[in-house]
Amino acid sequence: MADFLLELRSEEIPARMQARARNDLARLFAECTAEAGLTTGPIEAFSSPRRLVLIARDVADATEASREEVKGPRTSAPPQALDGFLRKTGLSRDQLEERDGVYFAAIERAGRSAAEILGESIKRIVAEFPWPKSMRWGDGSLRWVRPLHGIVAILGEEIVPVEIDGIISGATTAGHRFHHPGAITVGGAPDYVEKLRACHVIVDQEERERIIREGAAAAAAEAGLQLLEDEGLVVENAGLTEWPVPLLGRFDDDYLDVPREVIVLTMRTNQKYFACTDPGGLIAPAFVCVANVAAKDGGAAIVEGNKRVLAARLADARFFWEQDLKILLEEQAKKLGGIVFHEKLGTIADKVERLAKLARWLVENGVIKADPIQVERAARLAKADLVTGMVGEFPELQGIIGGYLAAAQGEPRPVADAIRDHYKPVGQGDDVPTAPVSIAVALADKLDTIAAFFSIDAKPTGSKDPFALRRAAISSIELVVRNGLRLGLTQALRGGLANCAGQAADSSAAHRLDRTADEMGDFFADRLKVQQREAGVRHDLIDAVFALGGEDDLVRLLARVNALQNFVETKDGADLLTAYKRAANILKKENWTGGVMSSPLAQGIPQTGEEDPLVLVDDPIVGEAVAEMSSGEAGAELPQEKALISALDAAEPRAAAAIDAEDFTASMAALASLRSPIDDFFDHVTVNDSDPAKREHRLNLLMRFRDAVNRVADFSRIEG
């Protein structure tokens, strides 16, 4: 057994591709060796800008020789079958064995050397490597992420010979591009990492990440500042360097007038610098860049150069900022009529008009308690920053820039905050706005987007959701739930839809509006289910509440799901569920949909001679009433029946009142009071009595029990 080293050396691999490339390298290598039957110990993969490296421990010297017997055609089979078998096995007729009228072939496989298998594996890895983008170079036809220059392949101390498009494997590689420009020779897996370190290359990306993380923090601390941590930048810089050297530089205080987000983003996106804060948490006029060289002058020239580049960038940003400050958002908003939102949905100005209407509606209908004038103002200015120079440069700062400008231009705080936060929450874990004006604009924006795209039939289908409507729905749900908004979602969506009706050419017909509103209701229900599932709520409980139907108040719906979840986890809940299932099974087996006593008159049901009581029962409402009456105490014979009836008489109104009061825990408690009577009933009462009147009465009683439970939640959907 020996350790195997593979290094694929190329021109600079994009930083963002390296993590996946390491995984792919390890996976492909494991697949190749496994298929060939070559055993290996642990496999590790590393990457730097100029190399992909794999080290496999304890690679077997060879594969085992094997002998396998393959069953062929019967000796009586036509000659073509035999010919085919000979072709397949590569044997001749006299090499086959005949047993019980059947041909057998013995296939011998000699063991193969590890070097041979590894050579083949390298070829396959290079040929099949799934780079997100690959290229050709020179006059070759090989594809790699950037030109591939060298292959180091050493098993133990021996070179594994392989040639790919003119590149011949060996033990020679290159060190750091500038610190060590010449060729270096490595002995194999054991000395590779240290030999490269001596040539200013840190092979292990995690070690480089650590140097950057700790070095950048230390550089900031030394200057009395705090590094603004950014793990994405750590990884990216580690993918851009073989010998990372974090260096701190400063920039002119003057640029601090520019919004903090702009400074951080300019440094991060354009220059890959870390930002720093002062002890008070404010952004400091300093940055940490990560060089790929231990410079002769300690990095002074590098810091100086980076400082000048950053100054030019910040000067640009400040220019835009100062220009933007001069123009009132109100004026900017007028330009939104020139930007198309969607060809069938008009311009952004149209979108703003709808948004303002819907936001105001939410306030006027008491869904959100906020100043309607502020809400309308915020809605009308919310999109104005889209035409600013700053957002033109940094589209990801939409909203944030508008918020800063609004505050600087004297808009009230709640208005400025609402402009800033109205895109939120943008993803899972993002902050959900809680200020009333912000909630109104944020929710109206999302509901309008959903309604607008539904109105032109641009709903998400399968994996396609080009306008991110699913995300918008989840964000709306988060806004509603987090803030406990009491809102008939259907009505709000219909309001949004009606807003769009003027714009969508073919949606004037009222029935179309209805259909779309229904589709949106279903869409939201689906999203809510997904969201609740992801939050860890049992899907059967969600179904049990959804099955009740007719509920579009999310807060009420989720309160019910929560109460149910708590209830089924109690012993009362679990036992009641068992009893419910038993009752439901009996009713199902008897195909019992409600009946009446044989002597309905005695039960106070008016009836004339010709009437068949079962005709009445076809009407579900009447049927229910009939069944309830006919399961009354009058027909009860045994004490357990009577006890169940009186328990139901007490529990039903309690549960109903609790539901009306939205106290779902109390409604569950009302159900819990049925547990002991129903258990007693099952223990002592035979439902299938030979007396049809008794049987009927008992079945109706079970039905009444089942229906009482179902009014709280559809227990038939609950598993367990």
Binding site: R136, D139, R146, P147, I302, V309
Partner: protein
Amino acid sequence: MSLSFQDLILTLHHYWGAQGCVILQPYDMEMGAGTFHPATVLRSLGLDPWRASYVQPCRRPTDGRYGENPNRLGHYYQYQVVLKPSPDDLQQLYLGSLVEIGIDPLKHDIRFVEDDWESPTLGAWGLGWEVWCDGMEVTQFTYFQQVGGFECKPVTGELTYGLERLAMYIQGVDNVFDLKFNDSSVSYGDVFLENEREMSAYNFEVADTDALFDLFRKAAAESERCLENKLPIPAYEQAIKASHVFNTLQARGVISVAERQAYIGRVRDLAKAACGAWLERAS
């Protein structure tokens, strides 16, 4: 002493001339980037080896700032190098040129940062990097994969140096107009400031848009007529002309977002057809 603007160009000429490049003079037509030069676009197609380097004035009407912005110009220079097939040591050759113009890679931080290149008007794309020197982009480094919609086989390696930026860096100057153009105290501003002012005024305010629309149509028609006559080079020249006229119309703000794609598509079709005709003629 650091290199003047003109010595920077001369140094690059010497360096790349020694690598077997033909040193061409700028193409005598207006264009937005050195890549548009036929010595890059047409020569990157077909099998024949080719090495060339040249300075190309680039006109980007929308980038003009009346000479008031220290970093932006409506007219500036690119130094363009094309090597076909791209040699194995292209990166080393490039880094050698940086040393030649006074950038010590053990004192400065030279980095190859992913930046894939695409030109929708030329139907061209390639993979490569922007090369950073101490955080500043000094060169676009690209391995062409397609030009005019045709596969590049062999592959051309293209280096595009931003000359003003590089000179500003080498000379330690913060305003492009303060660059020393030569060693006899002539500045970049002495040579070009008035040009920037007048060309910005022309491009943004004065250019006759009706005449330009007319010119665009005529250049496009002429390009097609050249193609009918199997003359790919003049056909390509007329496509470049149409492209520049389009850029000026953009600066005048008379092309809407919706129309923009259609104009780019028109130029691309012309450029592609010229490239196709060039390949046909060569084979």
